[in-house]
């Protein structure tokens, strides 16, 4: 095993990991950074984000309004100190990206343009046409190339955390090209591995979103927070699950059922707004949880449109006209033509809800700190409780930046204050055990289960038991099923015995990570006996602030169901209230 010494290890080189790396390099160029990623940084899933990044910009807007939208959007499960810090830092971070060359779309006067987004009371979403995440990722990656202290380890698959005396000390990773194992030791570790959308069958997430960071932290004893909150984006393309950005609706696209009726008005998001004149926080600019839930009801009522890929509703954008569609939404236009054969300039596009984002993740706080000293978590893999029970579209890209920078400062300070012996025999033994586990998987010659088989069963079980609507029986079945699959996964045989770019072995390791994430989702969905935001229980239809104005915390118990604890929500100035999406019309 090769040994790499760094001051700070960052796992994941998407938006959050890159922002953190740059921040550390700027704090002190002497700090040695090891930036580990299972893919080249430009492949990271940040690239698929389309709509934009939220930060107060116009004079009719205020930090207070951004705070209120975020907290009510999150159904009061956000930690309000985190939200306060976030809305305050957001504009500065978006300007920083502008200084680094991000090609934000512009107004006529040369200032950066902003667009409306769901659940937001004002226009405050900065965008680069409909490839905002792509441009943010590439800007950060390219900017990072000027810092020699950022040492990249591209296509290194991180296997597990190293920790000693309750403190994070590094990771073990496998170099894909050689199959060699690397022991990275560091004074602090930042997890920035993104989400776990691939635990569901139908998702906007790329193949790489397998919850690796969550699982590594979970296995190391760190709790997973609020894992029951899974966001369905209301407008995915059927079949592939490809995202059609909320920007489509921000620009004025509308959702209709099989009768051409704008059904959202039947679900507390009316009254109907004039075509092409979207009203903030109403109808199509309602929040994602409400829109996805409305689809579910329309489907039950038989109002959806049957297609070759299953039931859909239609997103009609024809009234926007070719010029606006091609200028503001060129990529989604191309995607719809390519993947469902529909030109949105002339025809409505079939869409349906699709798993998009994990509000839950590694328990972390406003500093990006986790309960394990020396371990920080940022971005989608973390749950810093900015997003509560339902994330507002365009808050997560900004979250990467704001908390990427903040955790970087914390990790650098921690590394400076907590030196440790470079030779650590206990850690070496731990690293050897991790390697032995993986070698054992590779060498196993018997087994009648397959990665694809178990993965498929896991996805279907979560969709059935922990989908848009849940209940006691369904979540219980899902919990048992995931436990069963974990046991059965021991009988998977890796057919590929090669050391070089072995995606058969990687697929099994990713499946193990996904099963850990799936366990948390199913168990937390079972434990929360109320309905809030993206977590809707048919058997507990009301929000229950008396018992559940709390974060769920799932602790791994090997061989048993996880223990679920509850942690109070931080409230500073907004008491739980009613989420009003009538556009102030009521």
């Amino acid at each position: 095993m090769k040994h790499i010494q760094a001051d700070i290890v960052i796992v994941g080189a998407g938006g959050a990991g890159l922002r953190a790396a740059i921040a550390i390099a700027e704090i002190d160029p002497e700090i040695e950074i090891a930036l580990i990623s299972k893919v080249y940084p430009m492949r990271s899933h940040t690239c698929a984000a389309e709509g934009g990044a939220a930060g107060v910009k116009l004079s009719d807007d205020s930090l207070e309004m951004h705070f209120n939208d975020t907290v009510s959007g999150g159904d009061w499960l956000c930690d309000q100190d985190v939200v306060e810090y976030f809305v305050e830092q957001a504009p500065r971070e978006l300007v920083q990206l502008e200084h680094w060359g991000c090609p934000w779309s512009r107004e006529d006067d040369g200032s950066v343009a902003v667009r409306p987004f769901g659940g937001m009371k004002k226009k405050r979403t900065w965008f680069a046409a409909d490839k905002s995440g792509f441009h943010i990722l590439h800007t950060l990656f390219q900017t990072s190339l000027q810092f020699p202290s950022i040492k990249r380890y591209d296509e290194f698959f991180a296997l597990d955390l190293l920790h000693e005396d309750g403190r994070a000390r590094g990771v073990v990773a496998m170099e894909m090209r050689s199959g060699c194992f690397f022991h990275f030791s560091a004074a602090s570790v930042i997890m920035a591995t993104g989400g776990a959308g691939k635990i569901f069958p139908f998702t906007t997430n790329g193949a790489i979103k397998t919850g690796d960071g969550m699982a590594m932290a979970y296995r190391a004893g760190v709790p997973m927070k609020d894992m029951e909150f899974v966001q369905y984006h209301p407008t995915g393309l059927p079949g592939t699950g490809i995202l059609l950005t909320e920007g489509c609706r921000g620009e004025g696209g509308v959702l209709v059922n099989k009768d051409g009726y704008r059904y959202l008005q039947d679900y507390d998001m009316g009254p109907e707004t004039p075509l092409g004149e979207p009203v903030f926080k109403s109808m199509e600019l309602g929040p994602r949880d409400r829109l996805s839930q409305a689809f579910w009801h329309e489907q039950k009522k038989g109002n959806t449109v049957p297609t070759a890929w299953g039931d859909c509703v239609l997103m009609d954008m024809r009234h926007l006209g070719a010029q606006r569609i091609l200028e503001r939404l060129p990529m989604v236009h191309e995607l719809a033509v390519s993947y469902v054969g529909v030109d949105m300039i002339t025809d409505p596009v079939p869409v349906r809800p699709v798993v998009h984002y994990m509000m839950g993740g590694i328990a972390s706080n406003i500093e990006g700190e986790t309960p394990m000293p020396g371990l920080f978590a940022i971005g989608e893999t973390a749950c810093g409780s900015l997003n509560g029970a339902n994330r507002l579209g365009s808050n997560s890209l900004t979250e990467l930046l704001v908390f990427g920078k903040r955790a970087a400062a914390g990790a650098a300070a921690f590394a400076a204050e907590n030196d440790y012996p470079r030779e650590a025999p206990a850690l070496l033994a731990q690293a050897e055990a991790i390697v032995a586990r993986v070698r054992g998987l590779l060498q196993k010659s018997e087994g009648n289960e397959s990665v694809a088989g178990i993965r498929g069963e896991m996805m279907n079980s979560l969709e059935e038991g922990a989908g848009i609507y849940r209940d006691e029986e369904g979540t219980e079945i899902a919990c048992k099923k995931i436990a069963e699959l974990q046991a059965r996964s021991a009988a998977i045989k890796v057919n590929d015995k090669s050391n070089v770019f072995n995606t058969d072995l990687q697929g099994l390791l990713e499946l193990q990570n996904m099963l850990d994430a799936a366990e948390c989702v199913a168990e937390a969905s079972n434990a929360r006996k109320e309905s809030r935001g993206a977590h809707q229980r048919m058997d507990y239809v009301e929000r229950d602030d008396e018992n559940y104005l709390k974060h769920s915390m799932a602790y791994r118990q090997p061989g048993e169901r996880p223990r679920i604890d509850w942690l109070d929500v931080t409230i500073t100035r907004s008491q739980p209230g009613v989420r009003d999406y009538s556009g102030d019309k009521k």
């Binding site: 500065r92 512009r106 190339l145 193949a207 191309e334 057919n495 995606t503 697929g507």
Partner: protein
């Protein structure tokens, strides 16, 4: 939805046991709306889990899944069964060493991206941290096209010059340098000149235009390279006569 049987002929190579690459046949029942990538995923999940290839987003933006399909470089998520005959040959990108099966070694091009100094370089101080650079829509339009590169490296696979010698810095890196040179916020053109205008830079391009034809994002690297030749000549004369090397 109907299915169509496709005979997939896939190049395999495992450096630990194969002396040379070879082809393996898979018969894949493809749905009508599938891309070649979906057929490869079918193979991996149902027929042969030992096949290795890169992929992630399946929406033409992460740049992972570039391969050679029936002799031409393509993103396999963007290459549809409906546009292909019943027999399809899938090989790794050309002009790169093969790492394993359909996975190629990208070290060289990753270094070349870095050589382009693809970041804003300033002589003057930037604006304060709460103030943007103003940039007109026309100024944005000047370089926007060159920001669209997803680093899929199809252009290197198509480039005859890079095929001859990988000393050539190549289309994507040159377009990237040009993107920053054209950005009204940048003042680093002179710093990028040496790397790009010397014998491995723009002058090596024979202007076949294969890069622009292969590009799945209409970046048009060939146009960038031609413009840089003009820019490079201008800079050379300006520097020779002691004029400033930067745009106003």
């Amino acid at each position: 939805m109907g299915t169509r049987q496709i005979e997939l002929e896939v190049m395999r190579y495992n450096p630990e046991k194969d002396e040379a690459p070879w082809f393996q046949q898979y018969s894949v029942p493809c749905e009508e709306d599938w891309a070649i990538l979906d057929a490869l995923i079918y193979v991996k999940d149902n027929l042969d889990s030992t096949l290795s290839y890169r992929w992630s987003c399946h929406m033409m933006v992460c740049g992972s899944c570039g391969m050679t399909v029936n002799g031409e470089p393509h993103l396999t998520c963007k290459t549809f069964i409906r546009d292909l005959p019943d027999k399809v040959r899938v090989e790794p990108l050309e002009n790169f060493p093969i790492e394993r099966d359909l996975v190629v070694v990208l070290d060289d091009v990753m270094q070349k991206l870095q050589l382009a100094k693809p970041y804003i370089i300033r002589k003057d101080d930037p604006p304060p941290e709460d103030e943007e650079y103003p940039q007109s829509r026309a100024a944005l339009k000047k370089f926007k096209q060159y920001t669209m590169c997803i680093n899929c490296m199809l252009c290197y696979s198509a480039c005859p010059q890079y095929g001859l010698s990988n000393d050539f810095i190549g289309p994507a890196a040159l377009s990237l340098a040009h993107r920053y040179n054209l950005d009204s916020r940048d003042q680093g053109k002179a710093q990028r000149l040496d790397i790009l205008a010397d014998h491995d830079g723009v002058w090596e391009c024979s202007f076949v235009g294969a890069c622009s034809e292969a590009c799945p994002k209409n970046v048009d690297p060939a146009a960038a390279i031609q413009q840089m030749k003009v820019d490079g000549t201008m800079e050379w004369w300006k520097q020779k006569f002691g004029l400033t090397g930067d745009k106003p």
